[in-house]
């Protein structure tokens, strides 16, 4: 079996894997990072979004082998120690989650939206940018609010850069 090595949440990892292993399977099964979820099999729902080299991707649609040498950040790596990332805090403060299953992907996408679109996000833009993330519980109302608030909070903490890393 071929070997893959990458940095996940700042930690160097290396494993021999079946070549068809998807990144999401590698994270969930090999590394036991189960915060990244699988909600569909057609790359539509976004429950599996992680950051690879600073950009959001759907980890259900990437082969782990293709990530050799990459820097991967998952939901487990977003907070710094016990200090929540402002976007995590915004989801809690604005009741942007109910069952929690889509939440890790939503938060990782939200941080990526801020990286690409800045801190002052109009509701319409947030809604368009969430095209690749499905939530069945919240009707998105509070997710949209949370992302707007989280974006502003990230400006205060100057954490765009940190999130992109």
């Amino acid at each position: 079996m071929p070997t893959v090595s990458m940095t996940v949440n700042g930690k160097q990892v290396k494993a021999d894997i079946d070549p068809r292993t998807l990144l999401v399977q590698f994270l969930r099964e090999n590394l036991r990072l189960t915060g990244t979820h699988v909600g569909c099999d057609t790359s539509q729902c976004g429950a599996c979004v992680v950051h690879v080299n600073g950009k959001a991707i759907k980890s259900c649609t990437a082969l782990a082998l293709g990530m050799d040498g990459a820097e991967v950040t998952t939901i487990e790596g977003l907070a710094s120690g016990s200090q929540l990332h402002p976007m995590q805090e915004a989801f809690r403060e604005n009741h942007g989650l109910q069952c929690g299953f889509c939440t890790p992907g939503m938060i990782m996408t939200a941080v990526d939206i801020v990286r690409r679109k800045g801190h002052d996000l109009e509701e319409k833009l947030i809604r368009e940018e969430l095209e690749g993330n499905i939530c069945r519980c919240t009707g998105y109302h509070n997710i949209v609010k949370a992302i707007g608030a989280g974006a502003k909070a990230m400006a205060k903490e100057g954490s765009t850069q940190q999130a992109a890393e």
């Binding site: 699988v38 099999d41 057609t42 939901i75 069952c99 299953f101 095209e131 519980c137 998105y140």
Partner: protein, 789 residues
């Protein structure tokens, strides 16, 4: 109101684990030696199963076992059941066909499991399943409920001639017919309540483990009611005695009804785990979810409303054909009957109602309760009829509604429901004010100038929640009681565990239940943990569905808290050397009336366990009380939703430009969470009205089996919502709660369709009102107008 008590928008205690990726859903759990199971499913909607050759599959790498429906049949395990017996008009019981966990002899829908492979990895199990050879003799299939009972239709189950499960009715046919004879106006509508796939974002999963040392099973399962799952798998399937089966429902990622039911997969995982002697895990992929999760709705209805000259409703006649799919799922029989027809009076005093429901089998996925379950279908019938009647009579829709509202309570409807309380005009008026209905004409003209069609639609819905009084549902055929249980365990240091038989899968019980305890005992909310979802930890409970957790589950909590307080007062009397009758409990302190003597709750808790200072022959040590609460009636949340749409006539695209919801849920424990429930419910109702549609072809192939072709509502498809409440407290339970979980999904479809039909000027359009169908409806209106000119 305390900062964390009843009525406070407390931020959720459970959120931390979810926002940090520390939630523990079933698929996140792994057991030592665990194997993966893959279900080989019938690709045919209706086929005889001949020989199944598993030899090549069994020889594939990593394969532990290959098992078929024939082997499952040999196990002598029982069938899955529908637990609610509905009788036909002639008194005969519904025709429930066997539902084996693996099909044997015949497959009855695409997705029916015929064999399984258990292997070291899921990939190996899938590879091996490709080598299984099944001889199918394909039979003609029937998918359309209107064709299922027709002569010559393919017969699915021997026990059900003409594929008919029951012909049920409620109400007085003669009196209703008389009302129609005397009516000065009759409004008639025919419509399809479209079949939906619930689609919680977490797919269903099961992880089963057998311990030969204790001859006991553990099942981790995506279920809304772990005790009910254990009961059915034990008492009906016969997998293991109830005390030898532990069911754990850990974090569950949404349910919306679809995770109430007992499915074949958990049964097969348990069976296979004992057979192979290792833990067996199954997690549905989304395609499997579409093919196996119970679907919702799927009614074909003709409804007529009779009115007198002044616009008073004098009668309602409804005929519904309900498609229950290939097998009767756990509660399927009750959905189009007792959860549907008793709500057909809506918010109105309708003296005579008669409703007939025919339920049929088809070669499709089983249909059962989905958010609202029968009540969205009823609200759609009533609210579409009322709106159309108003248009036909040239009355304002609000005026016609007000003329017919129930105004005195309790109100006995002509379809069995006894409405306990409500103020329907209050929610209608408040919604109209918030929505600025007065300004609609101006907004419509302004939209016309931009070439857009603007429409306004009301939905003044009512639902029956807080399921349900046990003896009443027993009379109606339910195989279980629908009470709820709770236990309050006060620890020696004064922290509390609240054990509840309800289950949360997004509703936030870990917060709202803790709020009730925090306020009552005067302790910080951080000192309360809510325990649920494990049959080894929690006493028997009925689970979460039907907006029952607040109205029924919290009532049990209050009862248990009453008992805790009573016992604590006895202990306090000894500690404070006073008469028990002089002890008052307020703000977390027991004190003696008229003195400054008191003992704090936590200190009393310690004394209860130390047991030095009271006679233990009279008062047992410890402080832990349990309670079972059986409701006296359903609860009746009601409200008014107003939807405003704008339609581009060139493309037929509908945009919801404003939404106002004013709901009466009785007492609200946490307004933030309640608003969230309304948002989510409305989103699912809007999904039904505009986007979601389950399509089968004539051969029973599911054409909408993934997110590429089943349109889930996305963020850009939905509006921001204005959500508010009015309050009439429910008189039937101690906190006055009515329930809020399903309201949005019940109210929304009629509001959307009333708005669209208002905008385009025809009632001839079905859900989902896709751009294509809206465009076509606009063209037919234009053509008719041209023809008339």
């Amino acid at each position: 109101m305390s900062a964390t008590g009843i009525g406070a928008a407390v931020r959720r205690k459970e959120d931390f684990r979810f926002i940090t990726g520390k939630g523990q859903y079933t698929d996140d759990i792994s057991r030592p030696g665990q194997t993966s199971i893959y279900f080989l499913r019938s690709p045919h909607a209706h086929a005889r199963i001949g020989k199944i050759d598993t030899a090549a599959a069994a020889a594939m790498p990593g394969v532990v076992a290959v098992l078929t429906g024939a082997e499952f049949a040999e196990s002598k395990l029982g069938s899955l059941i529908c637990g609610w017996t509905v009788l036909s008009k002639d008194g005969s019981p519904m025709k429930m066909a066997p539902h084996p966990a693996l099909a044997h002899g015949k497959a009855n829908h695409v997705g029916d499991g015929v064999a399984v492979v258990i292997a070291e990895t899921l990939a190996q199990a899938k590879d091996a399943a490709e080598r299984i050879v099944v001889d199918y003799e394909v039979l003609p299939a029937v998918v359309d409920p209107m064709k299922a009972a027709a002569r010559g239709a393919p017969q699915i189950h021997d026990v059900a001639p003409d594929n008919t499960i029951y012909n049920w009715h409620i109400g007085d046919p003669e009196a209703t017919a008389a009302a129609f004879r005397n009516a000065s106006h009759v409004t008639t509508l025919e419509f399809v309540n479209n079949r939906l796939v619930p689609n919680p974002m977490e797919p269903r999963a099961a992880l089963a483990e057998y311990d030969p040392g204790t001859e006991s099973f553990t099942l981790w399962n995506t279920t809304q009611n772990p005790h009910v799952a254990r009961l059915v798998i034990s008492a009906f399937v016969g997998m293991a005695p109830e005390h030898k089966l532990r069911v754990i429902a850990p974090d569950v990622g949404g349910g919306f009804g679809s995770k109430i039911f007992i499915y074949p997969e958990e049964v097969v995982c348990l069976w296979a785990a004992r057979k192979v002697g290792r833990p067996v895990k199954w997690t549905a992929d989304r395609s499997e979810a579409f093919l196996t999760d119970a679907h919702g709705r799927d009614h074909v209805t003709k409804a007529q409303l009779a009115l007198d000259r002044e616009g008073r409703i004098t009668g309602l006649k409804v005929h519904t054909t309900a498609n229950l799919g290939a097998y009767m799922s756990t509660f399927s029989s009750a959905v189009p009957t007792f959860l549907y027809a008793p709500l057909l009076s809506g918010q109105y005093a309708i003296p005579h109602i008669y409703c007939e429901v025919d339920a049929v089998y088809t070669n499709t996925v089983p249909v059962d309760a989905y958010r609202g379950a029968g009540r969205p279908e009823a609200a759609y019938v009533v609210e579409r009829l009322v709106e159309v009647a108003a248009r036909e009579l040239n009355m304002e829709p609000a005026t016609l509604r007000k003329k017919n509202f129930v105004r005195t309570f309790p109100y006995q409807t002509s379809v069995a429901s006894l409405y306990d309380t409500g103020d329907f005009e209050a929610s209608l008026n408040k919604a109209m004010k918030i929505h600025d209905v007065e300004g609609f004409g101006r907004r419509k003209r302004e939209a016309e100038r931009r070439g857009r069609l603007r429409g306004l639609g009301f939905s003044a819905y009512i639902e029956a929640c807080g399921v349900a009084p046990s003896s009443l549902v027993g009379q109606l055929g339910a195989g279980v009681g629908l009470w709820e249980s709770a236990e309050i365990r006060v620890n020696p240091t004064g922290t509390v565990e609240l054990l509840t038989g309800t289950h949360q899968h997004g509703q936030g019980h870990e917060t709202t239940f803790a709020q009730v305890v925090s306020e009552r005992l005067g302790i910080p909310i951080e000192n309360v943990t809510v325990v649920h979802g494990d049959t080894d930890k929690v006493q028997f409970g009925m689970g979460t569905y039907g907006s029952r957790s607040g109205a029924v589950g919290l009532s049990a909590v209050v009862k248990a808290l009453d008992k805790v307080e009573n016992k604590a007062k006895k202990i306090a009397a000894h500690l404070l050397e006073a008469a028990e009758g002089d002890i008052v409990f307020r703000d977390g302190k027991f004190s003696v009336t008229g003195t400054d003597k008191s003992v704090a709750f936590a200190d009393l808790a310690l004394q209860a366990y130390v047991a030095h200072k009271f006679p233990t022959a009279e008062i047992e040590p410890g402080l832990k009380e349990g309670a079972f609460y059986d409701p006296t009636n359903f609860t009746f949340p009601a409200g008014c939703h107003i939807c405003e749409v704008e339609i581009d006539p060139a493309t037929g695209e509908t945009q919801i430009v404003a939404w106002t919801a004013v709901d009466d849920f009785g007492t609200v424990i946490n307004p933030m969470i309640v608003e969230g429930q309304v948002h989510g419910g409305v989103a699912q109702g809007v999904g039904q009205a505009l986007y979601e549609h389950t399509v089968y072809d004539d051969r029973g192939q599911l054409m909408t089996g993934s997110y590429m072709d089943y349109a889930m509502p996305r963020a850009e498809n939905l509006p921001s919502l204005k959500v508010d409440t009015t309050v009439t407290k429910c008189p039937g339970n101690p906190l006055g709660i009515k329930g809020c979980g399903e309201a949005g999904a019940i109210a929304a479809p009629a509001a959307v369709m009333n708005a669209i039909t208002d905008a385009i000027g025809t009632e001839k359009i079905e859900m989902p009102a896709t751009p294509q169908s809206v465009w076509a409806a606009i063209q037919s209106v234009n053509n008719n107008r041209r023809a008339a000119e």
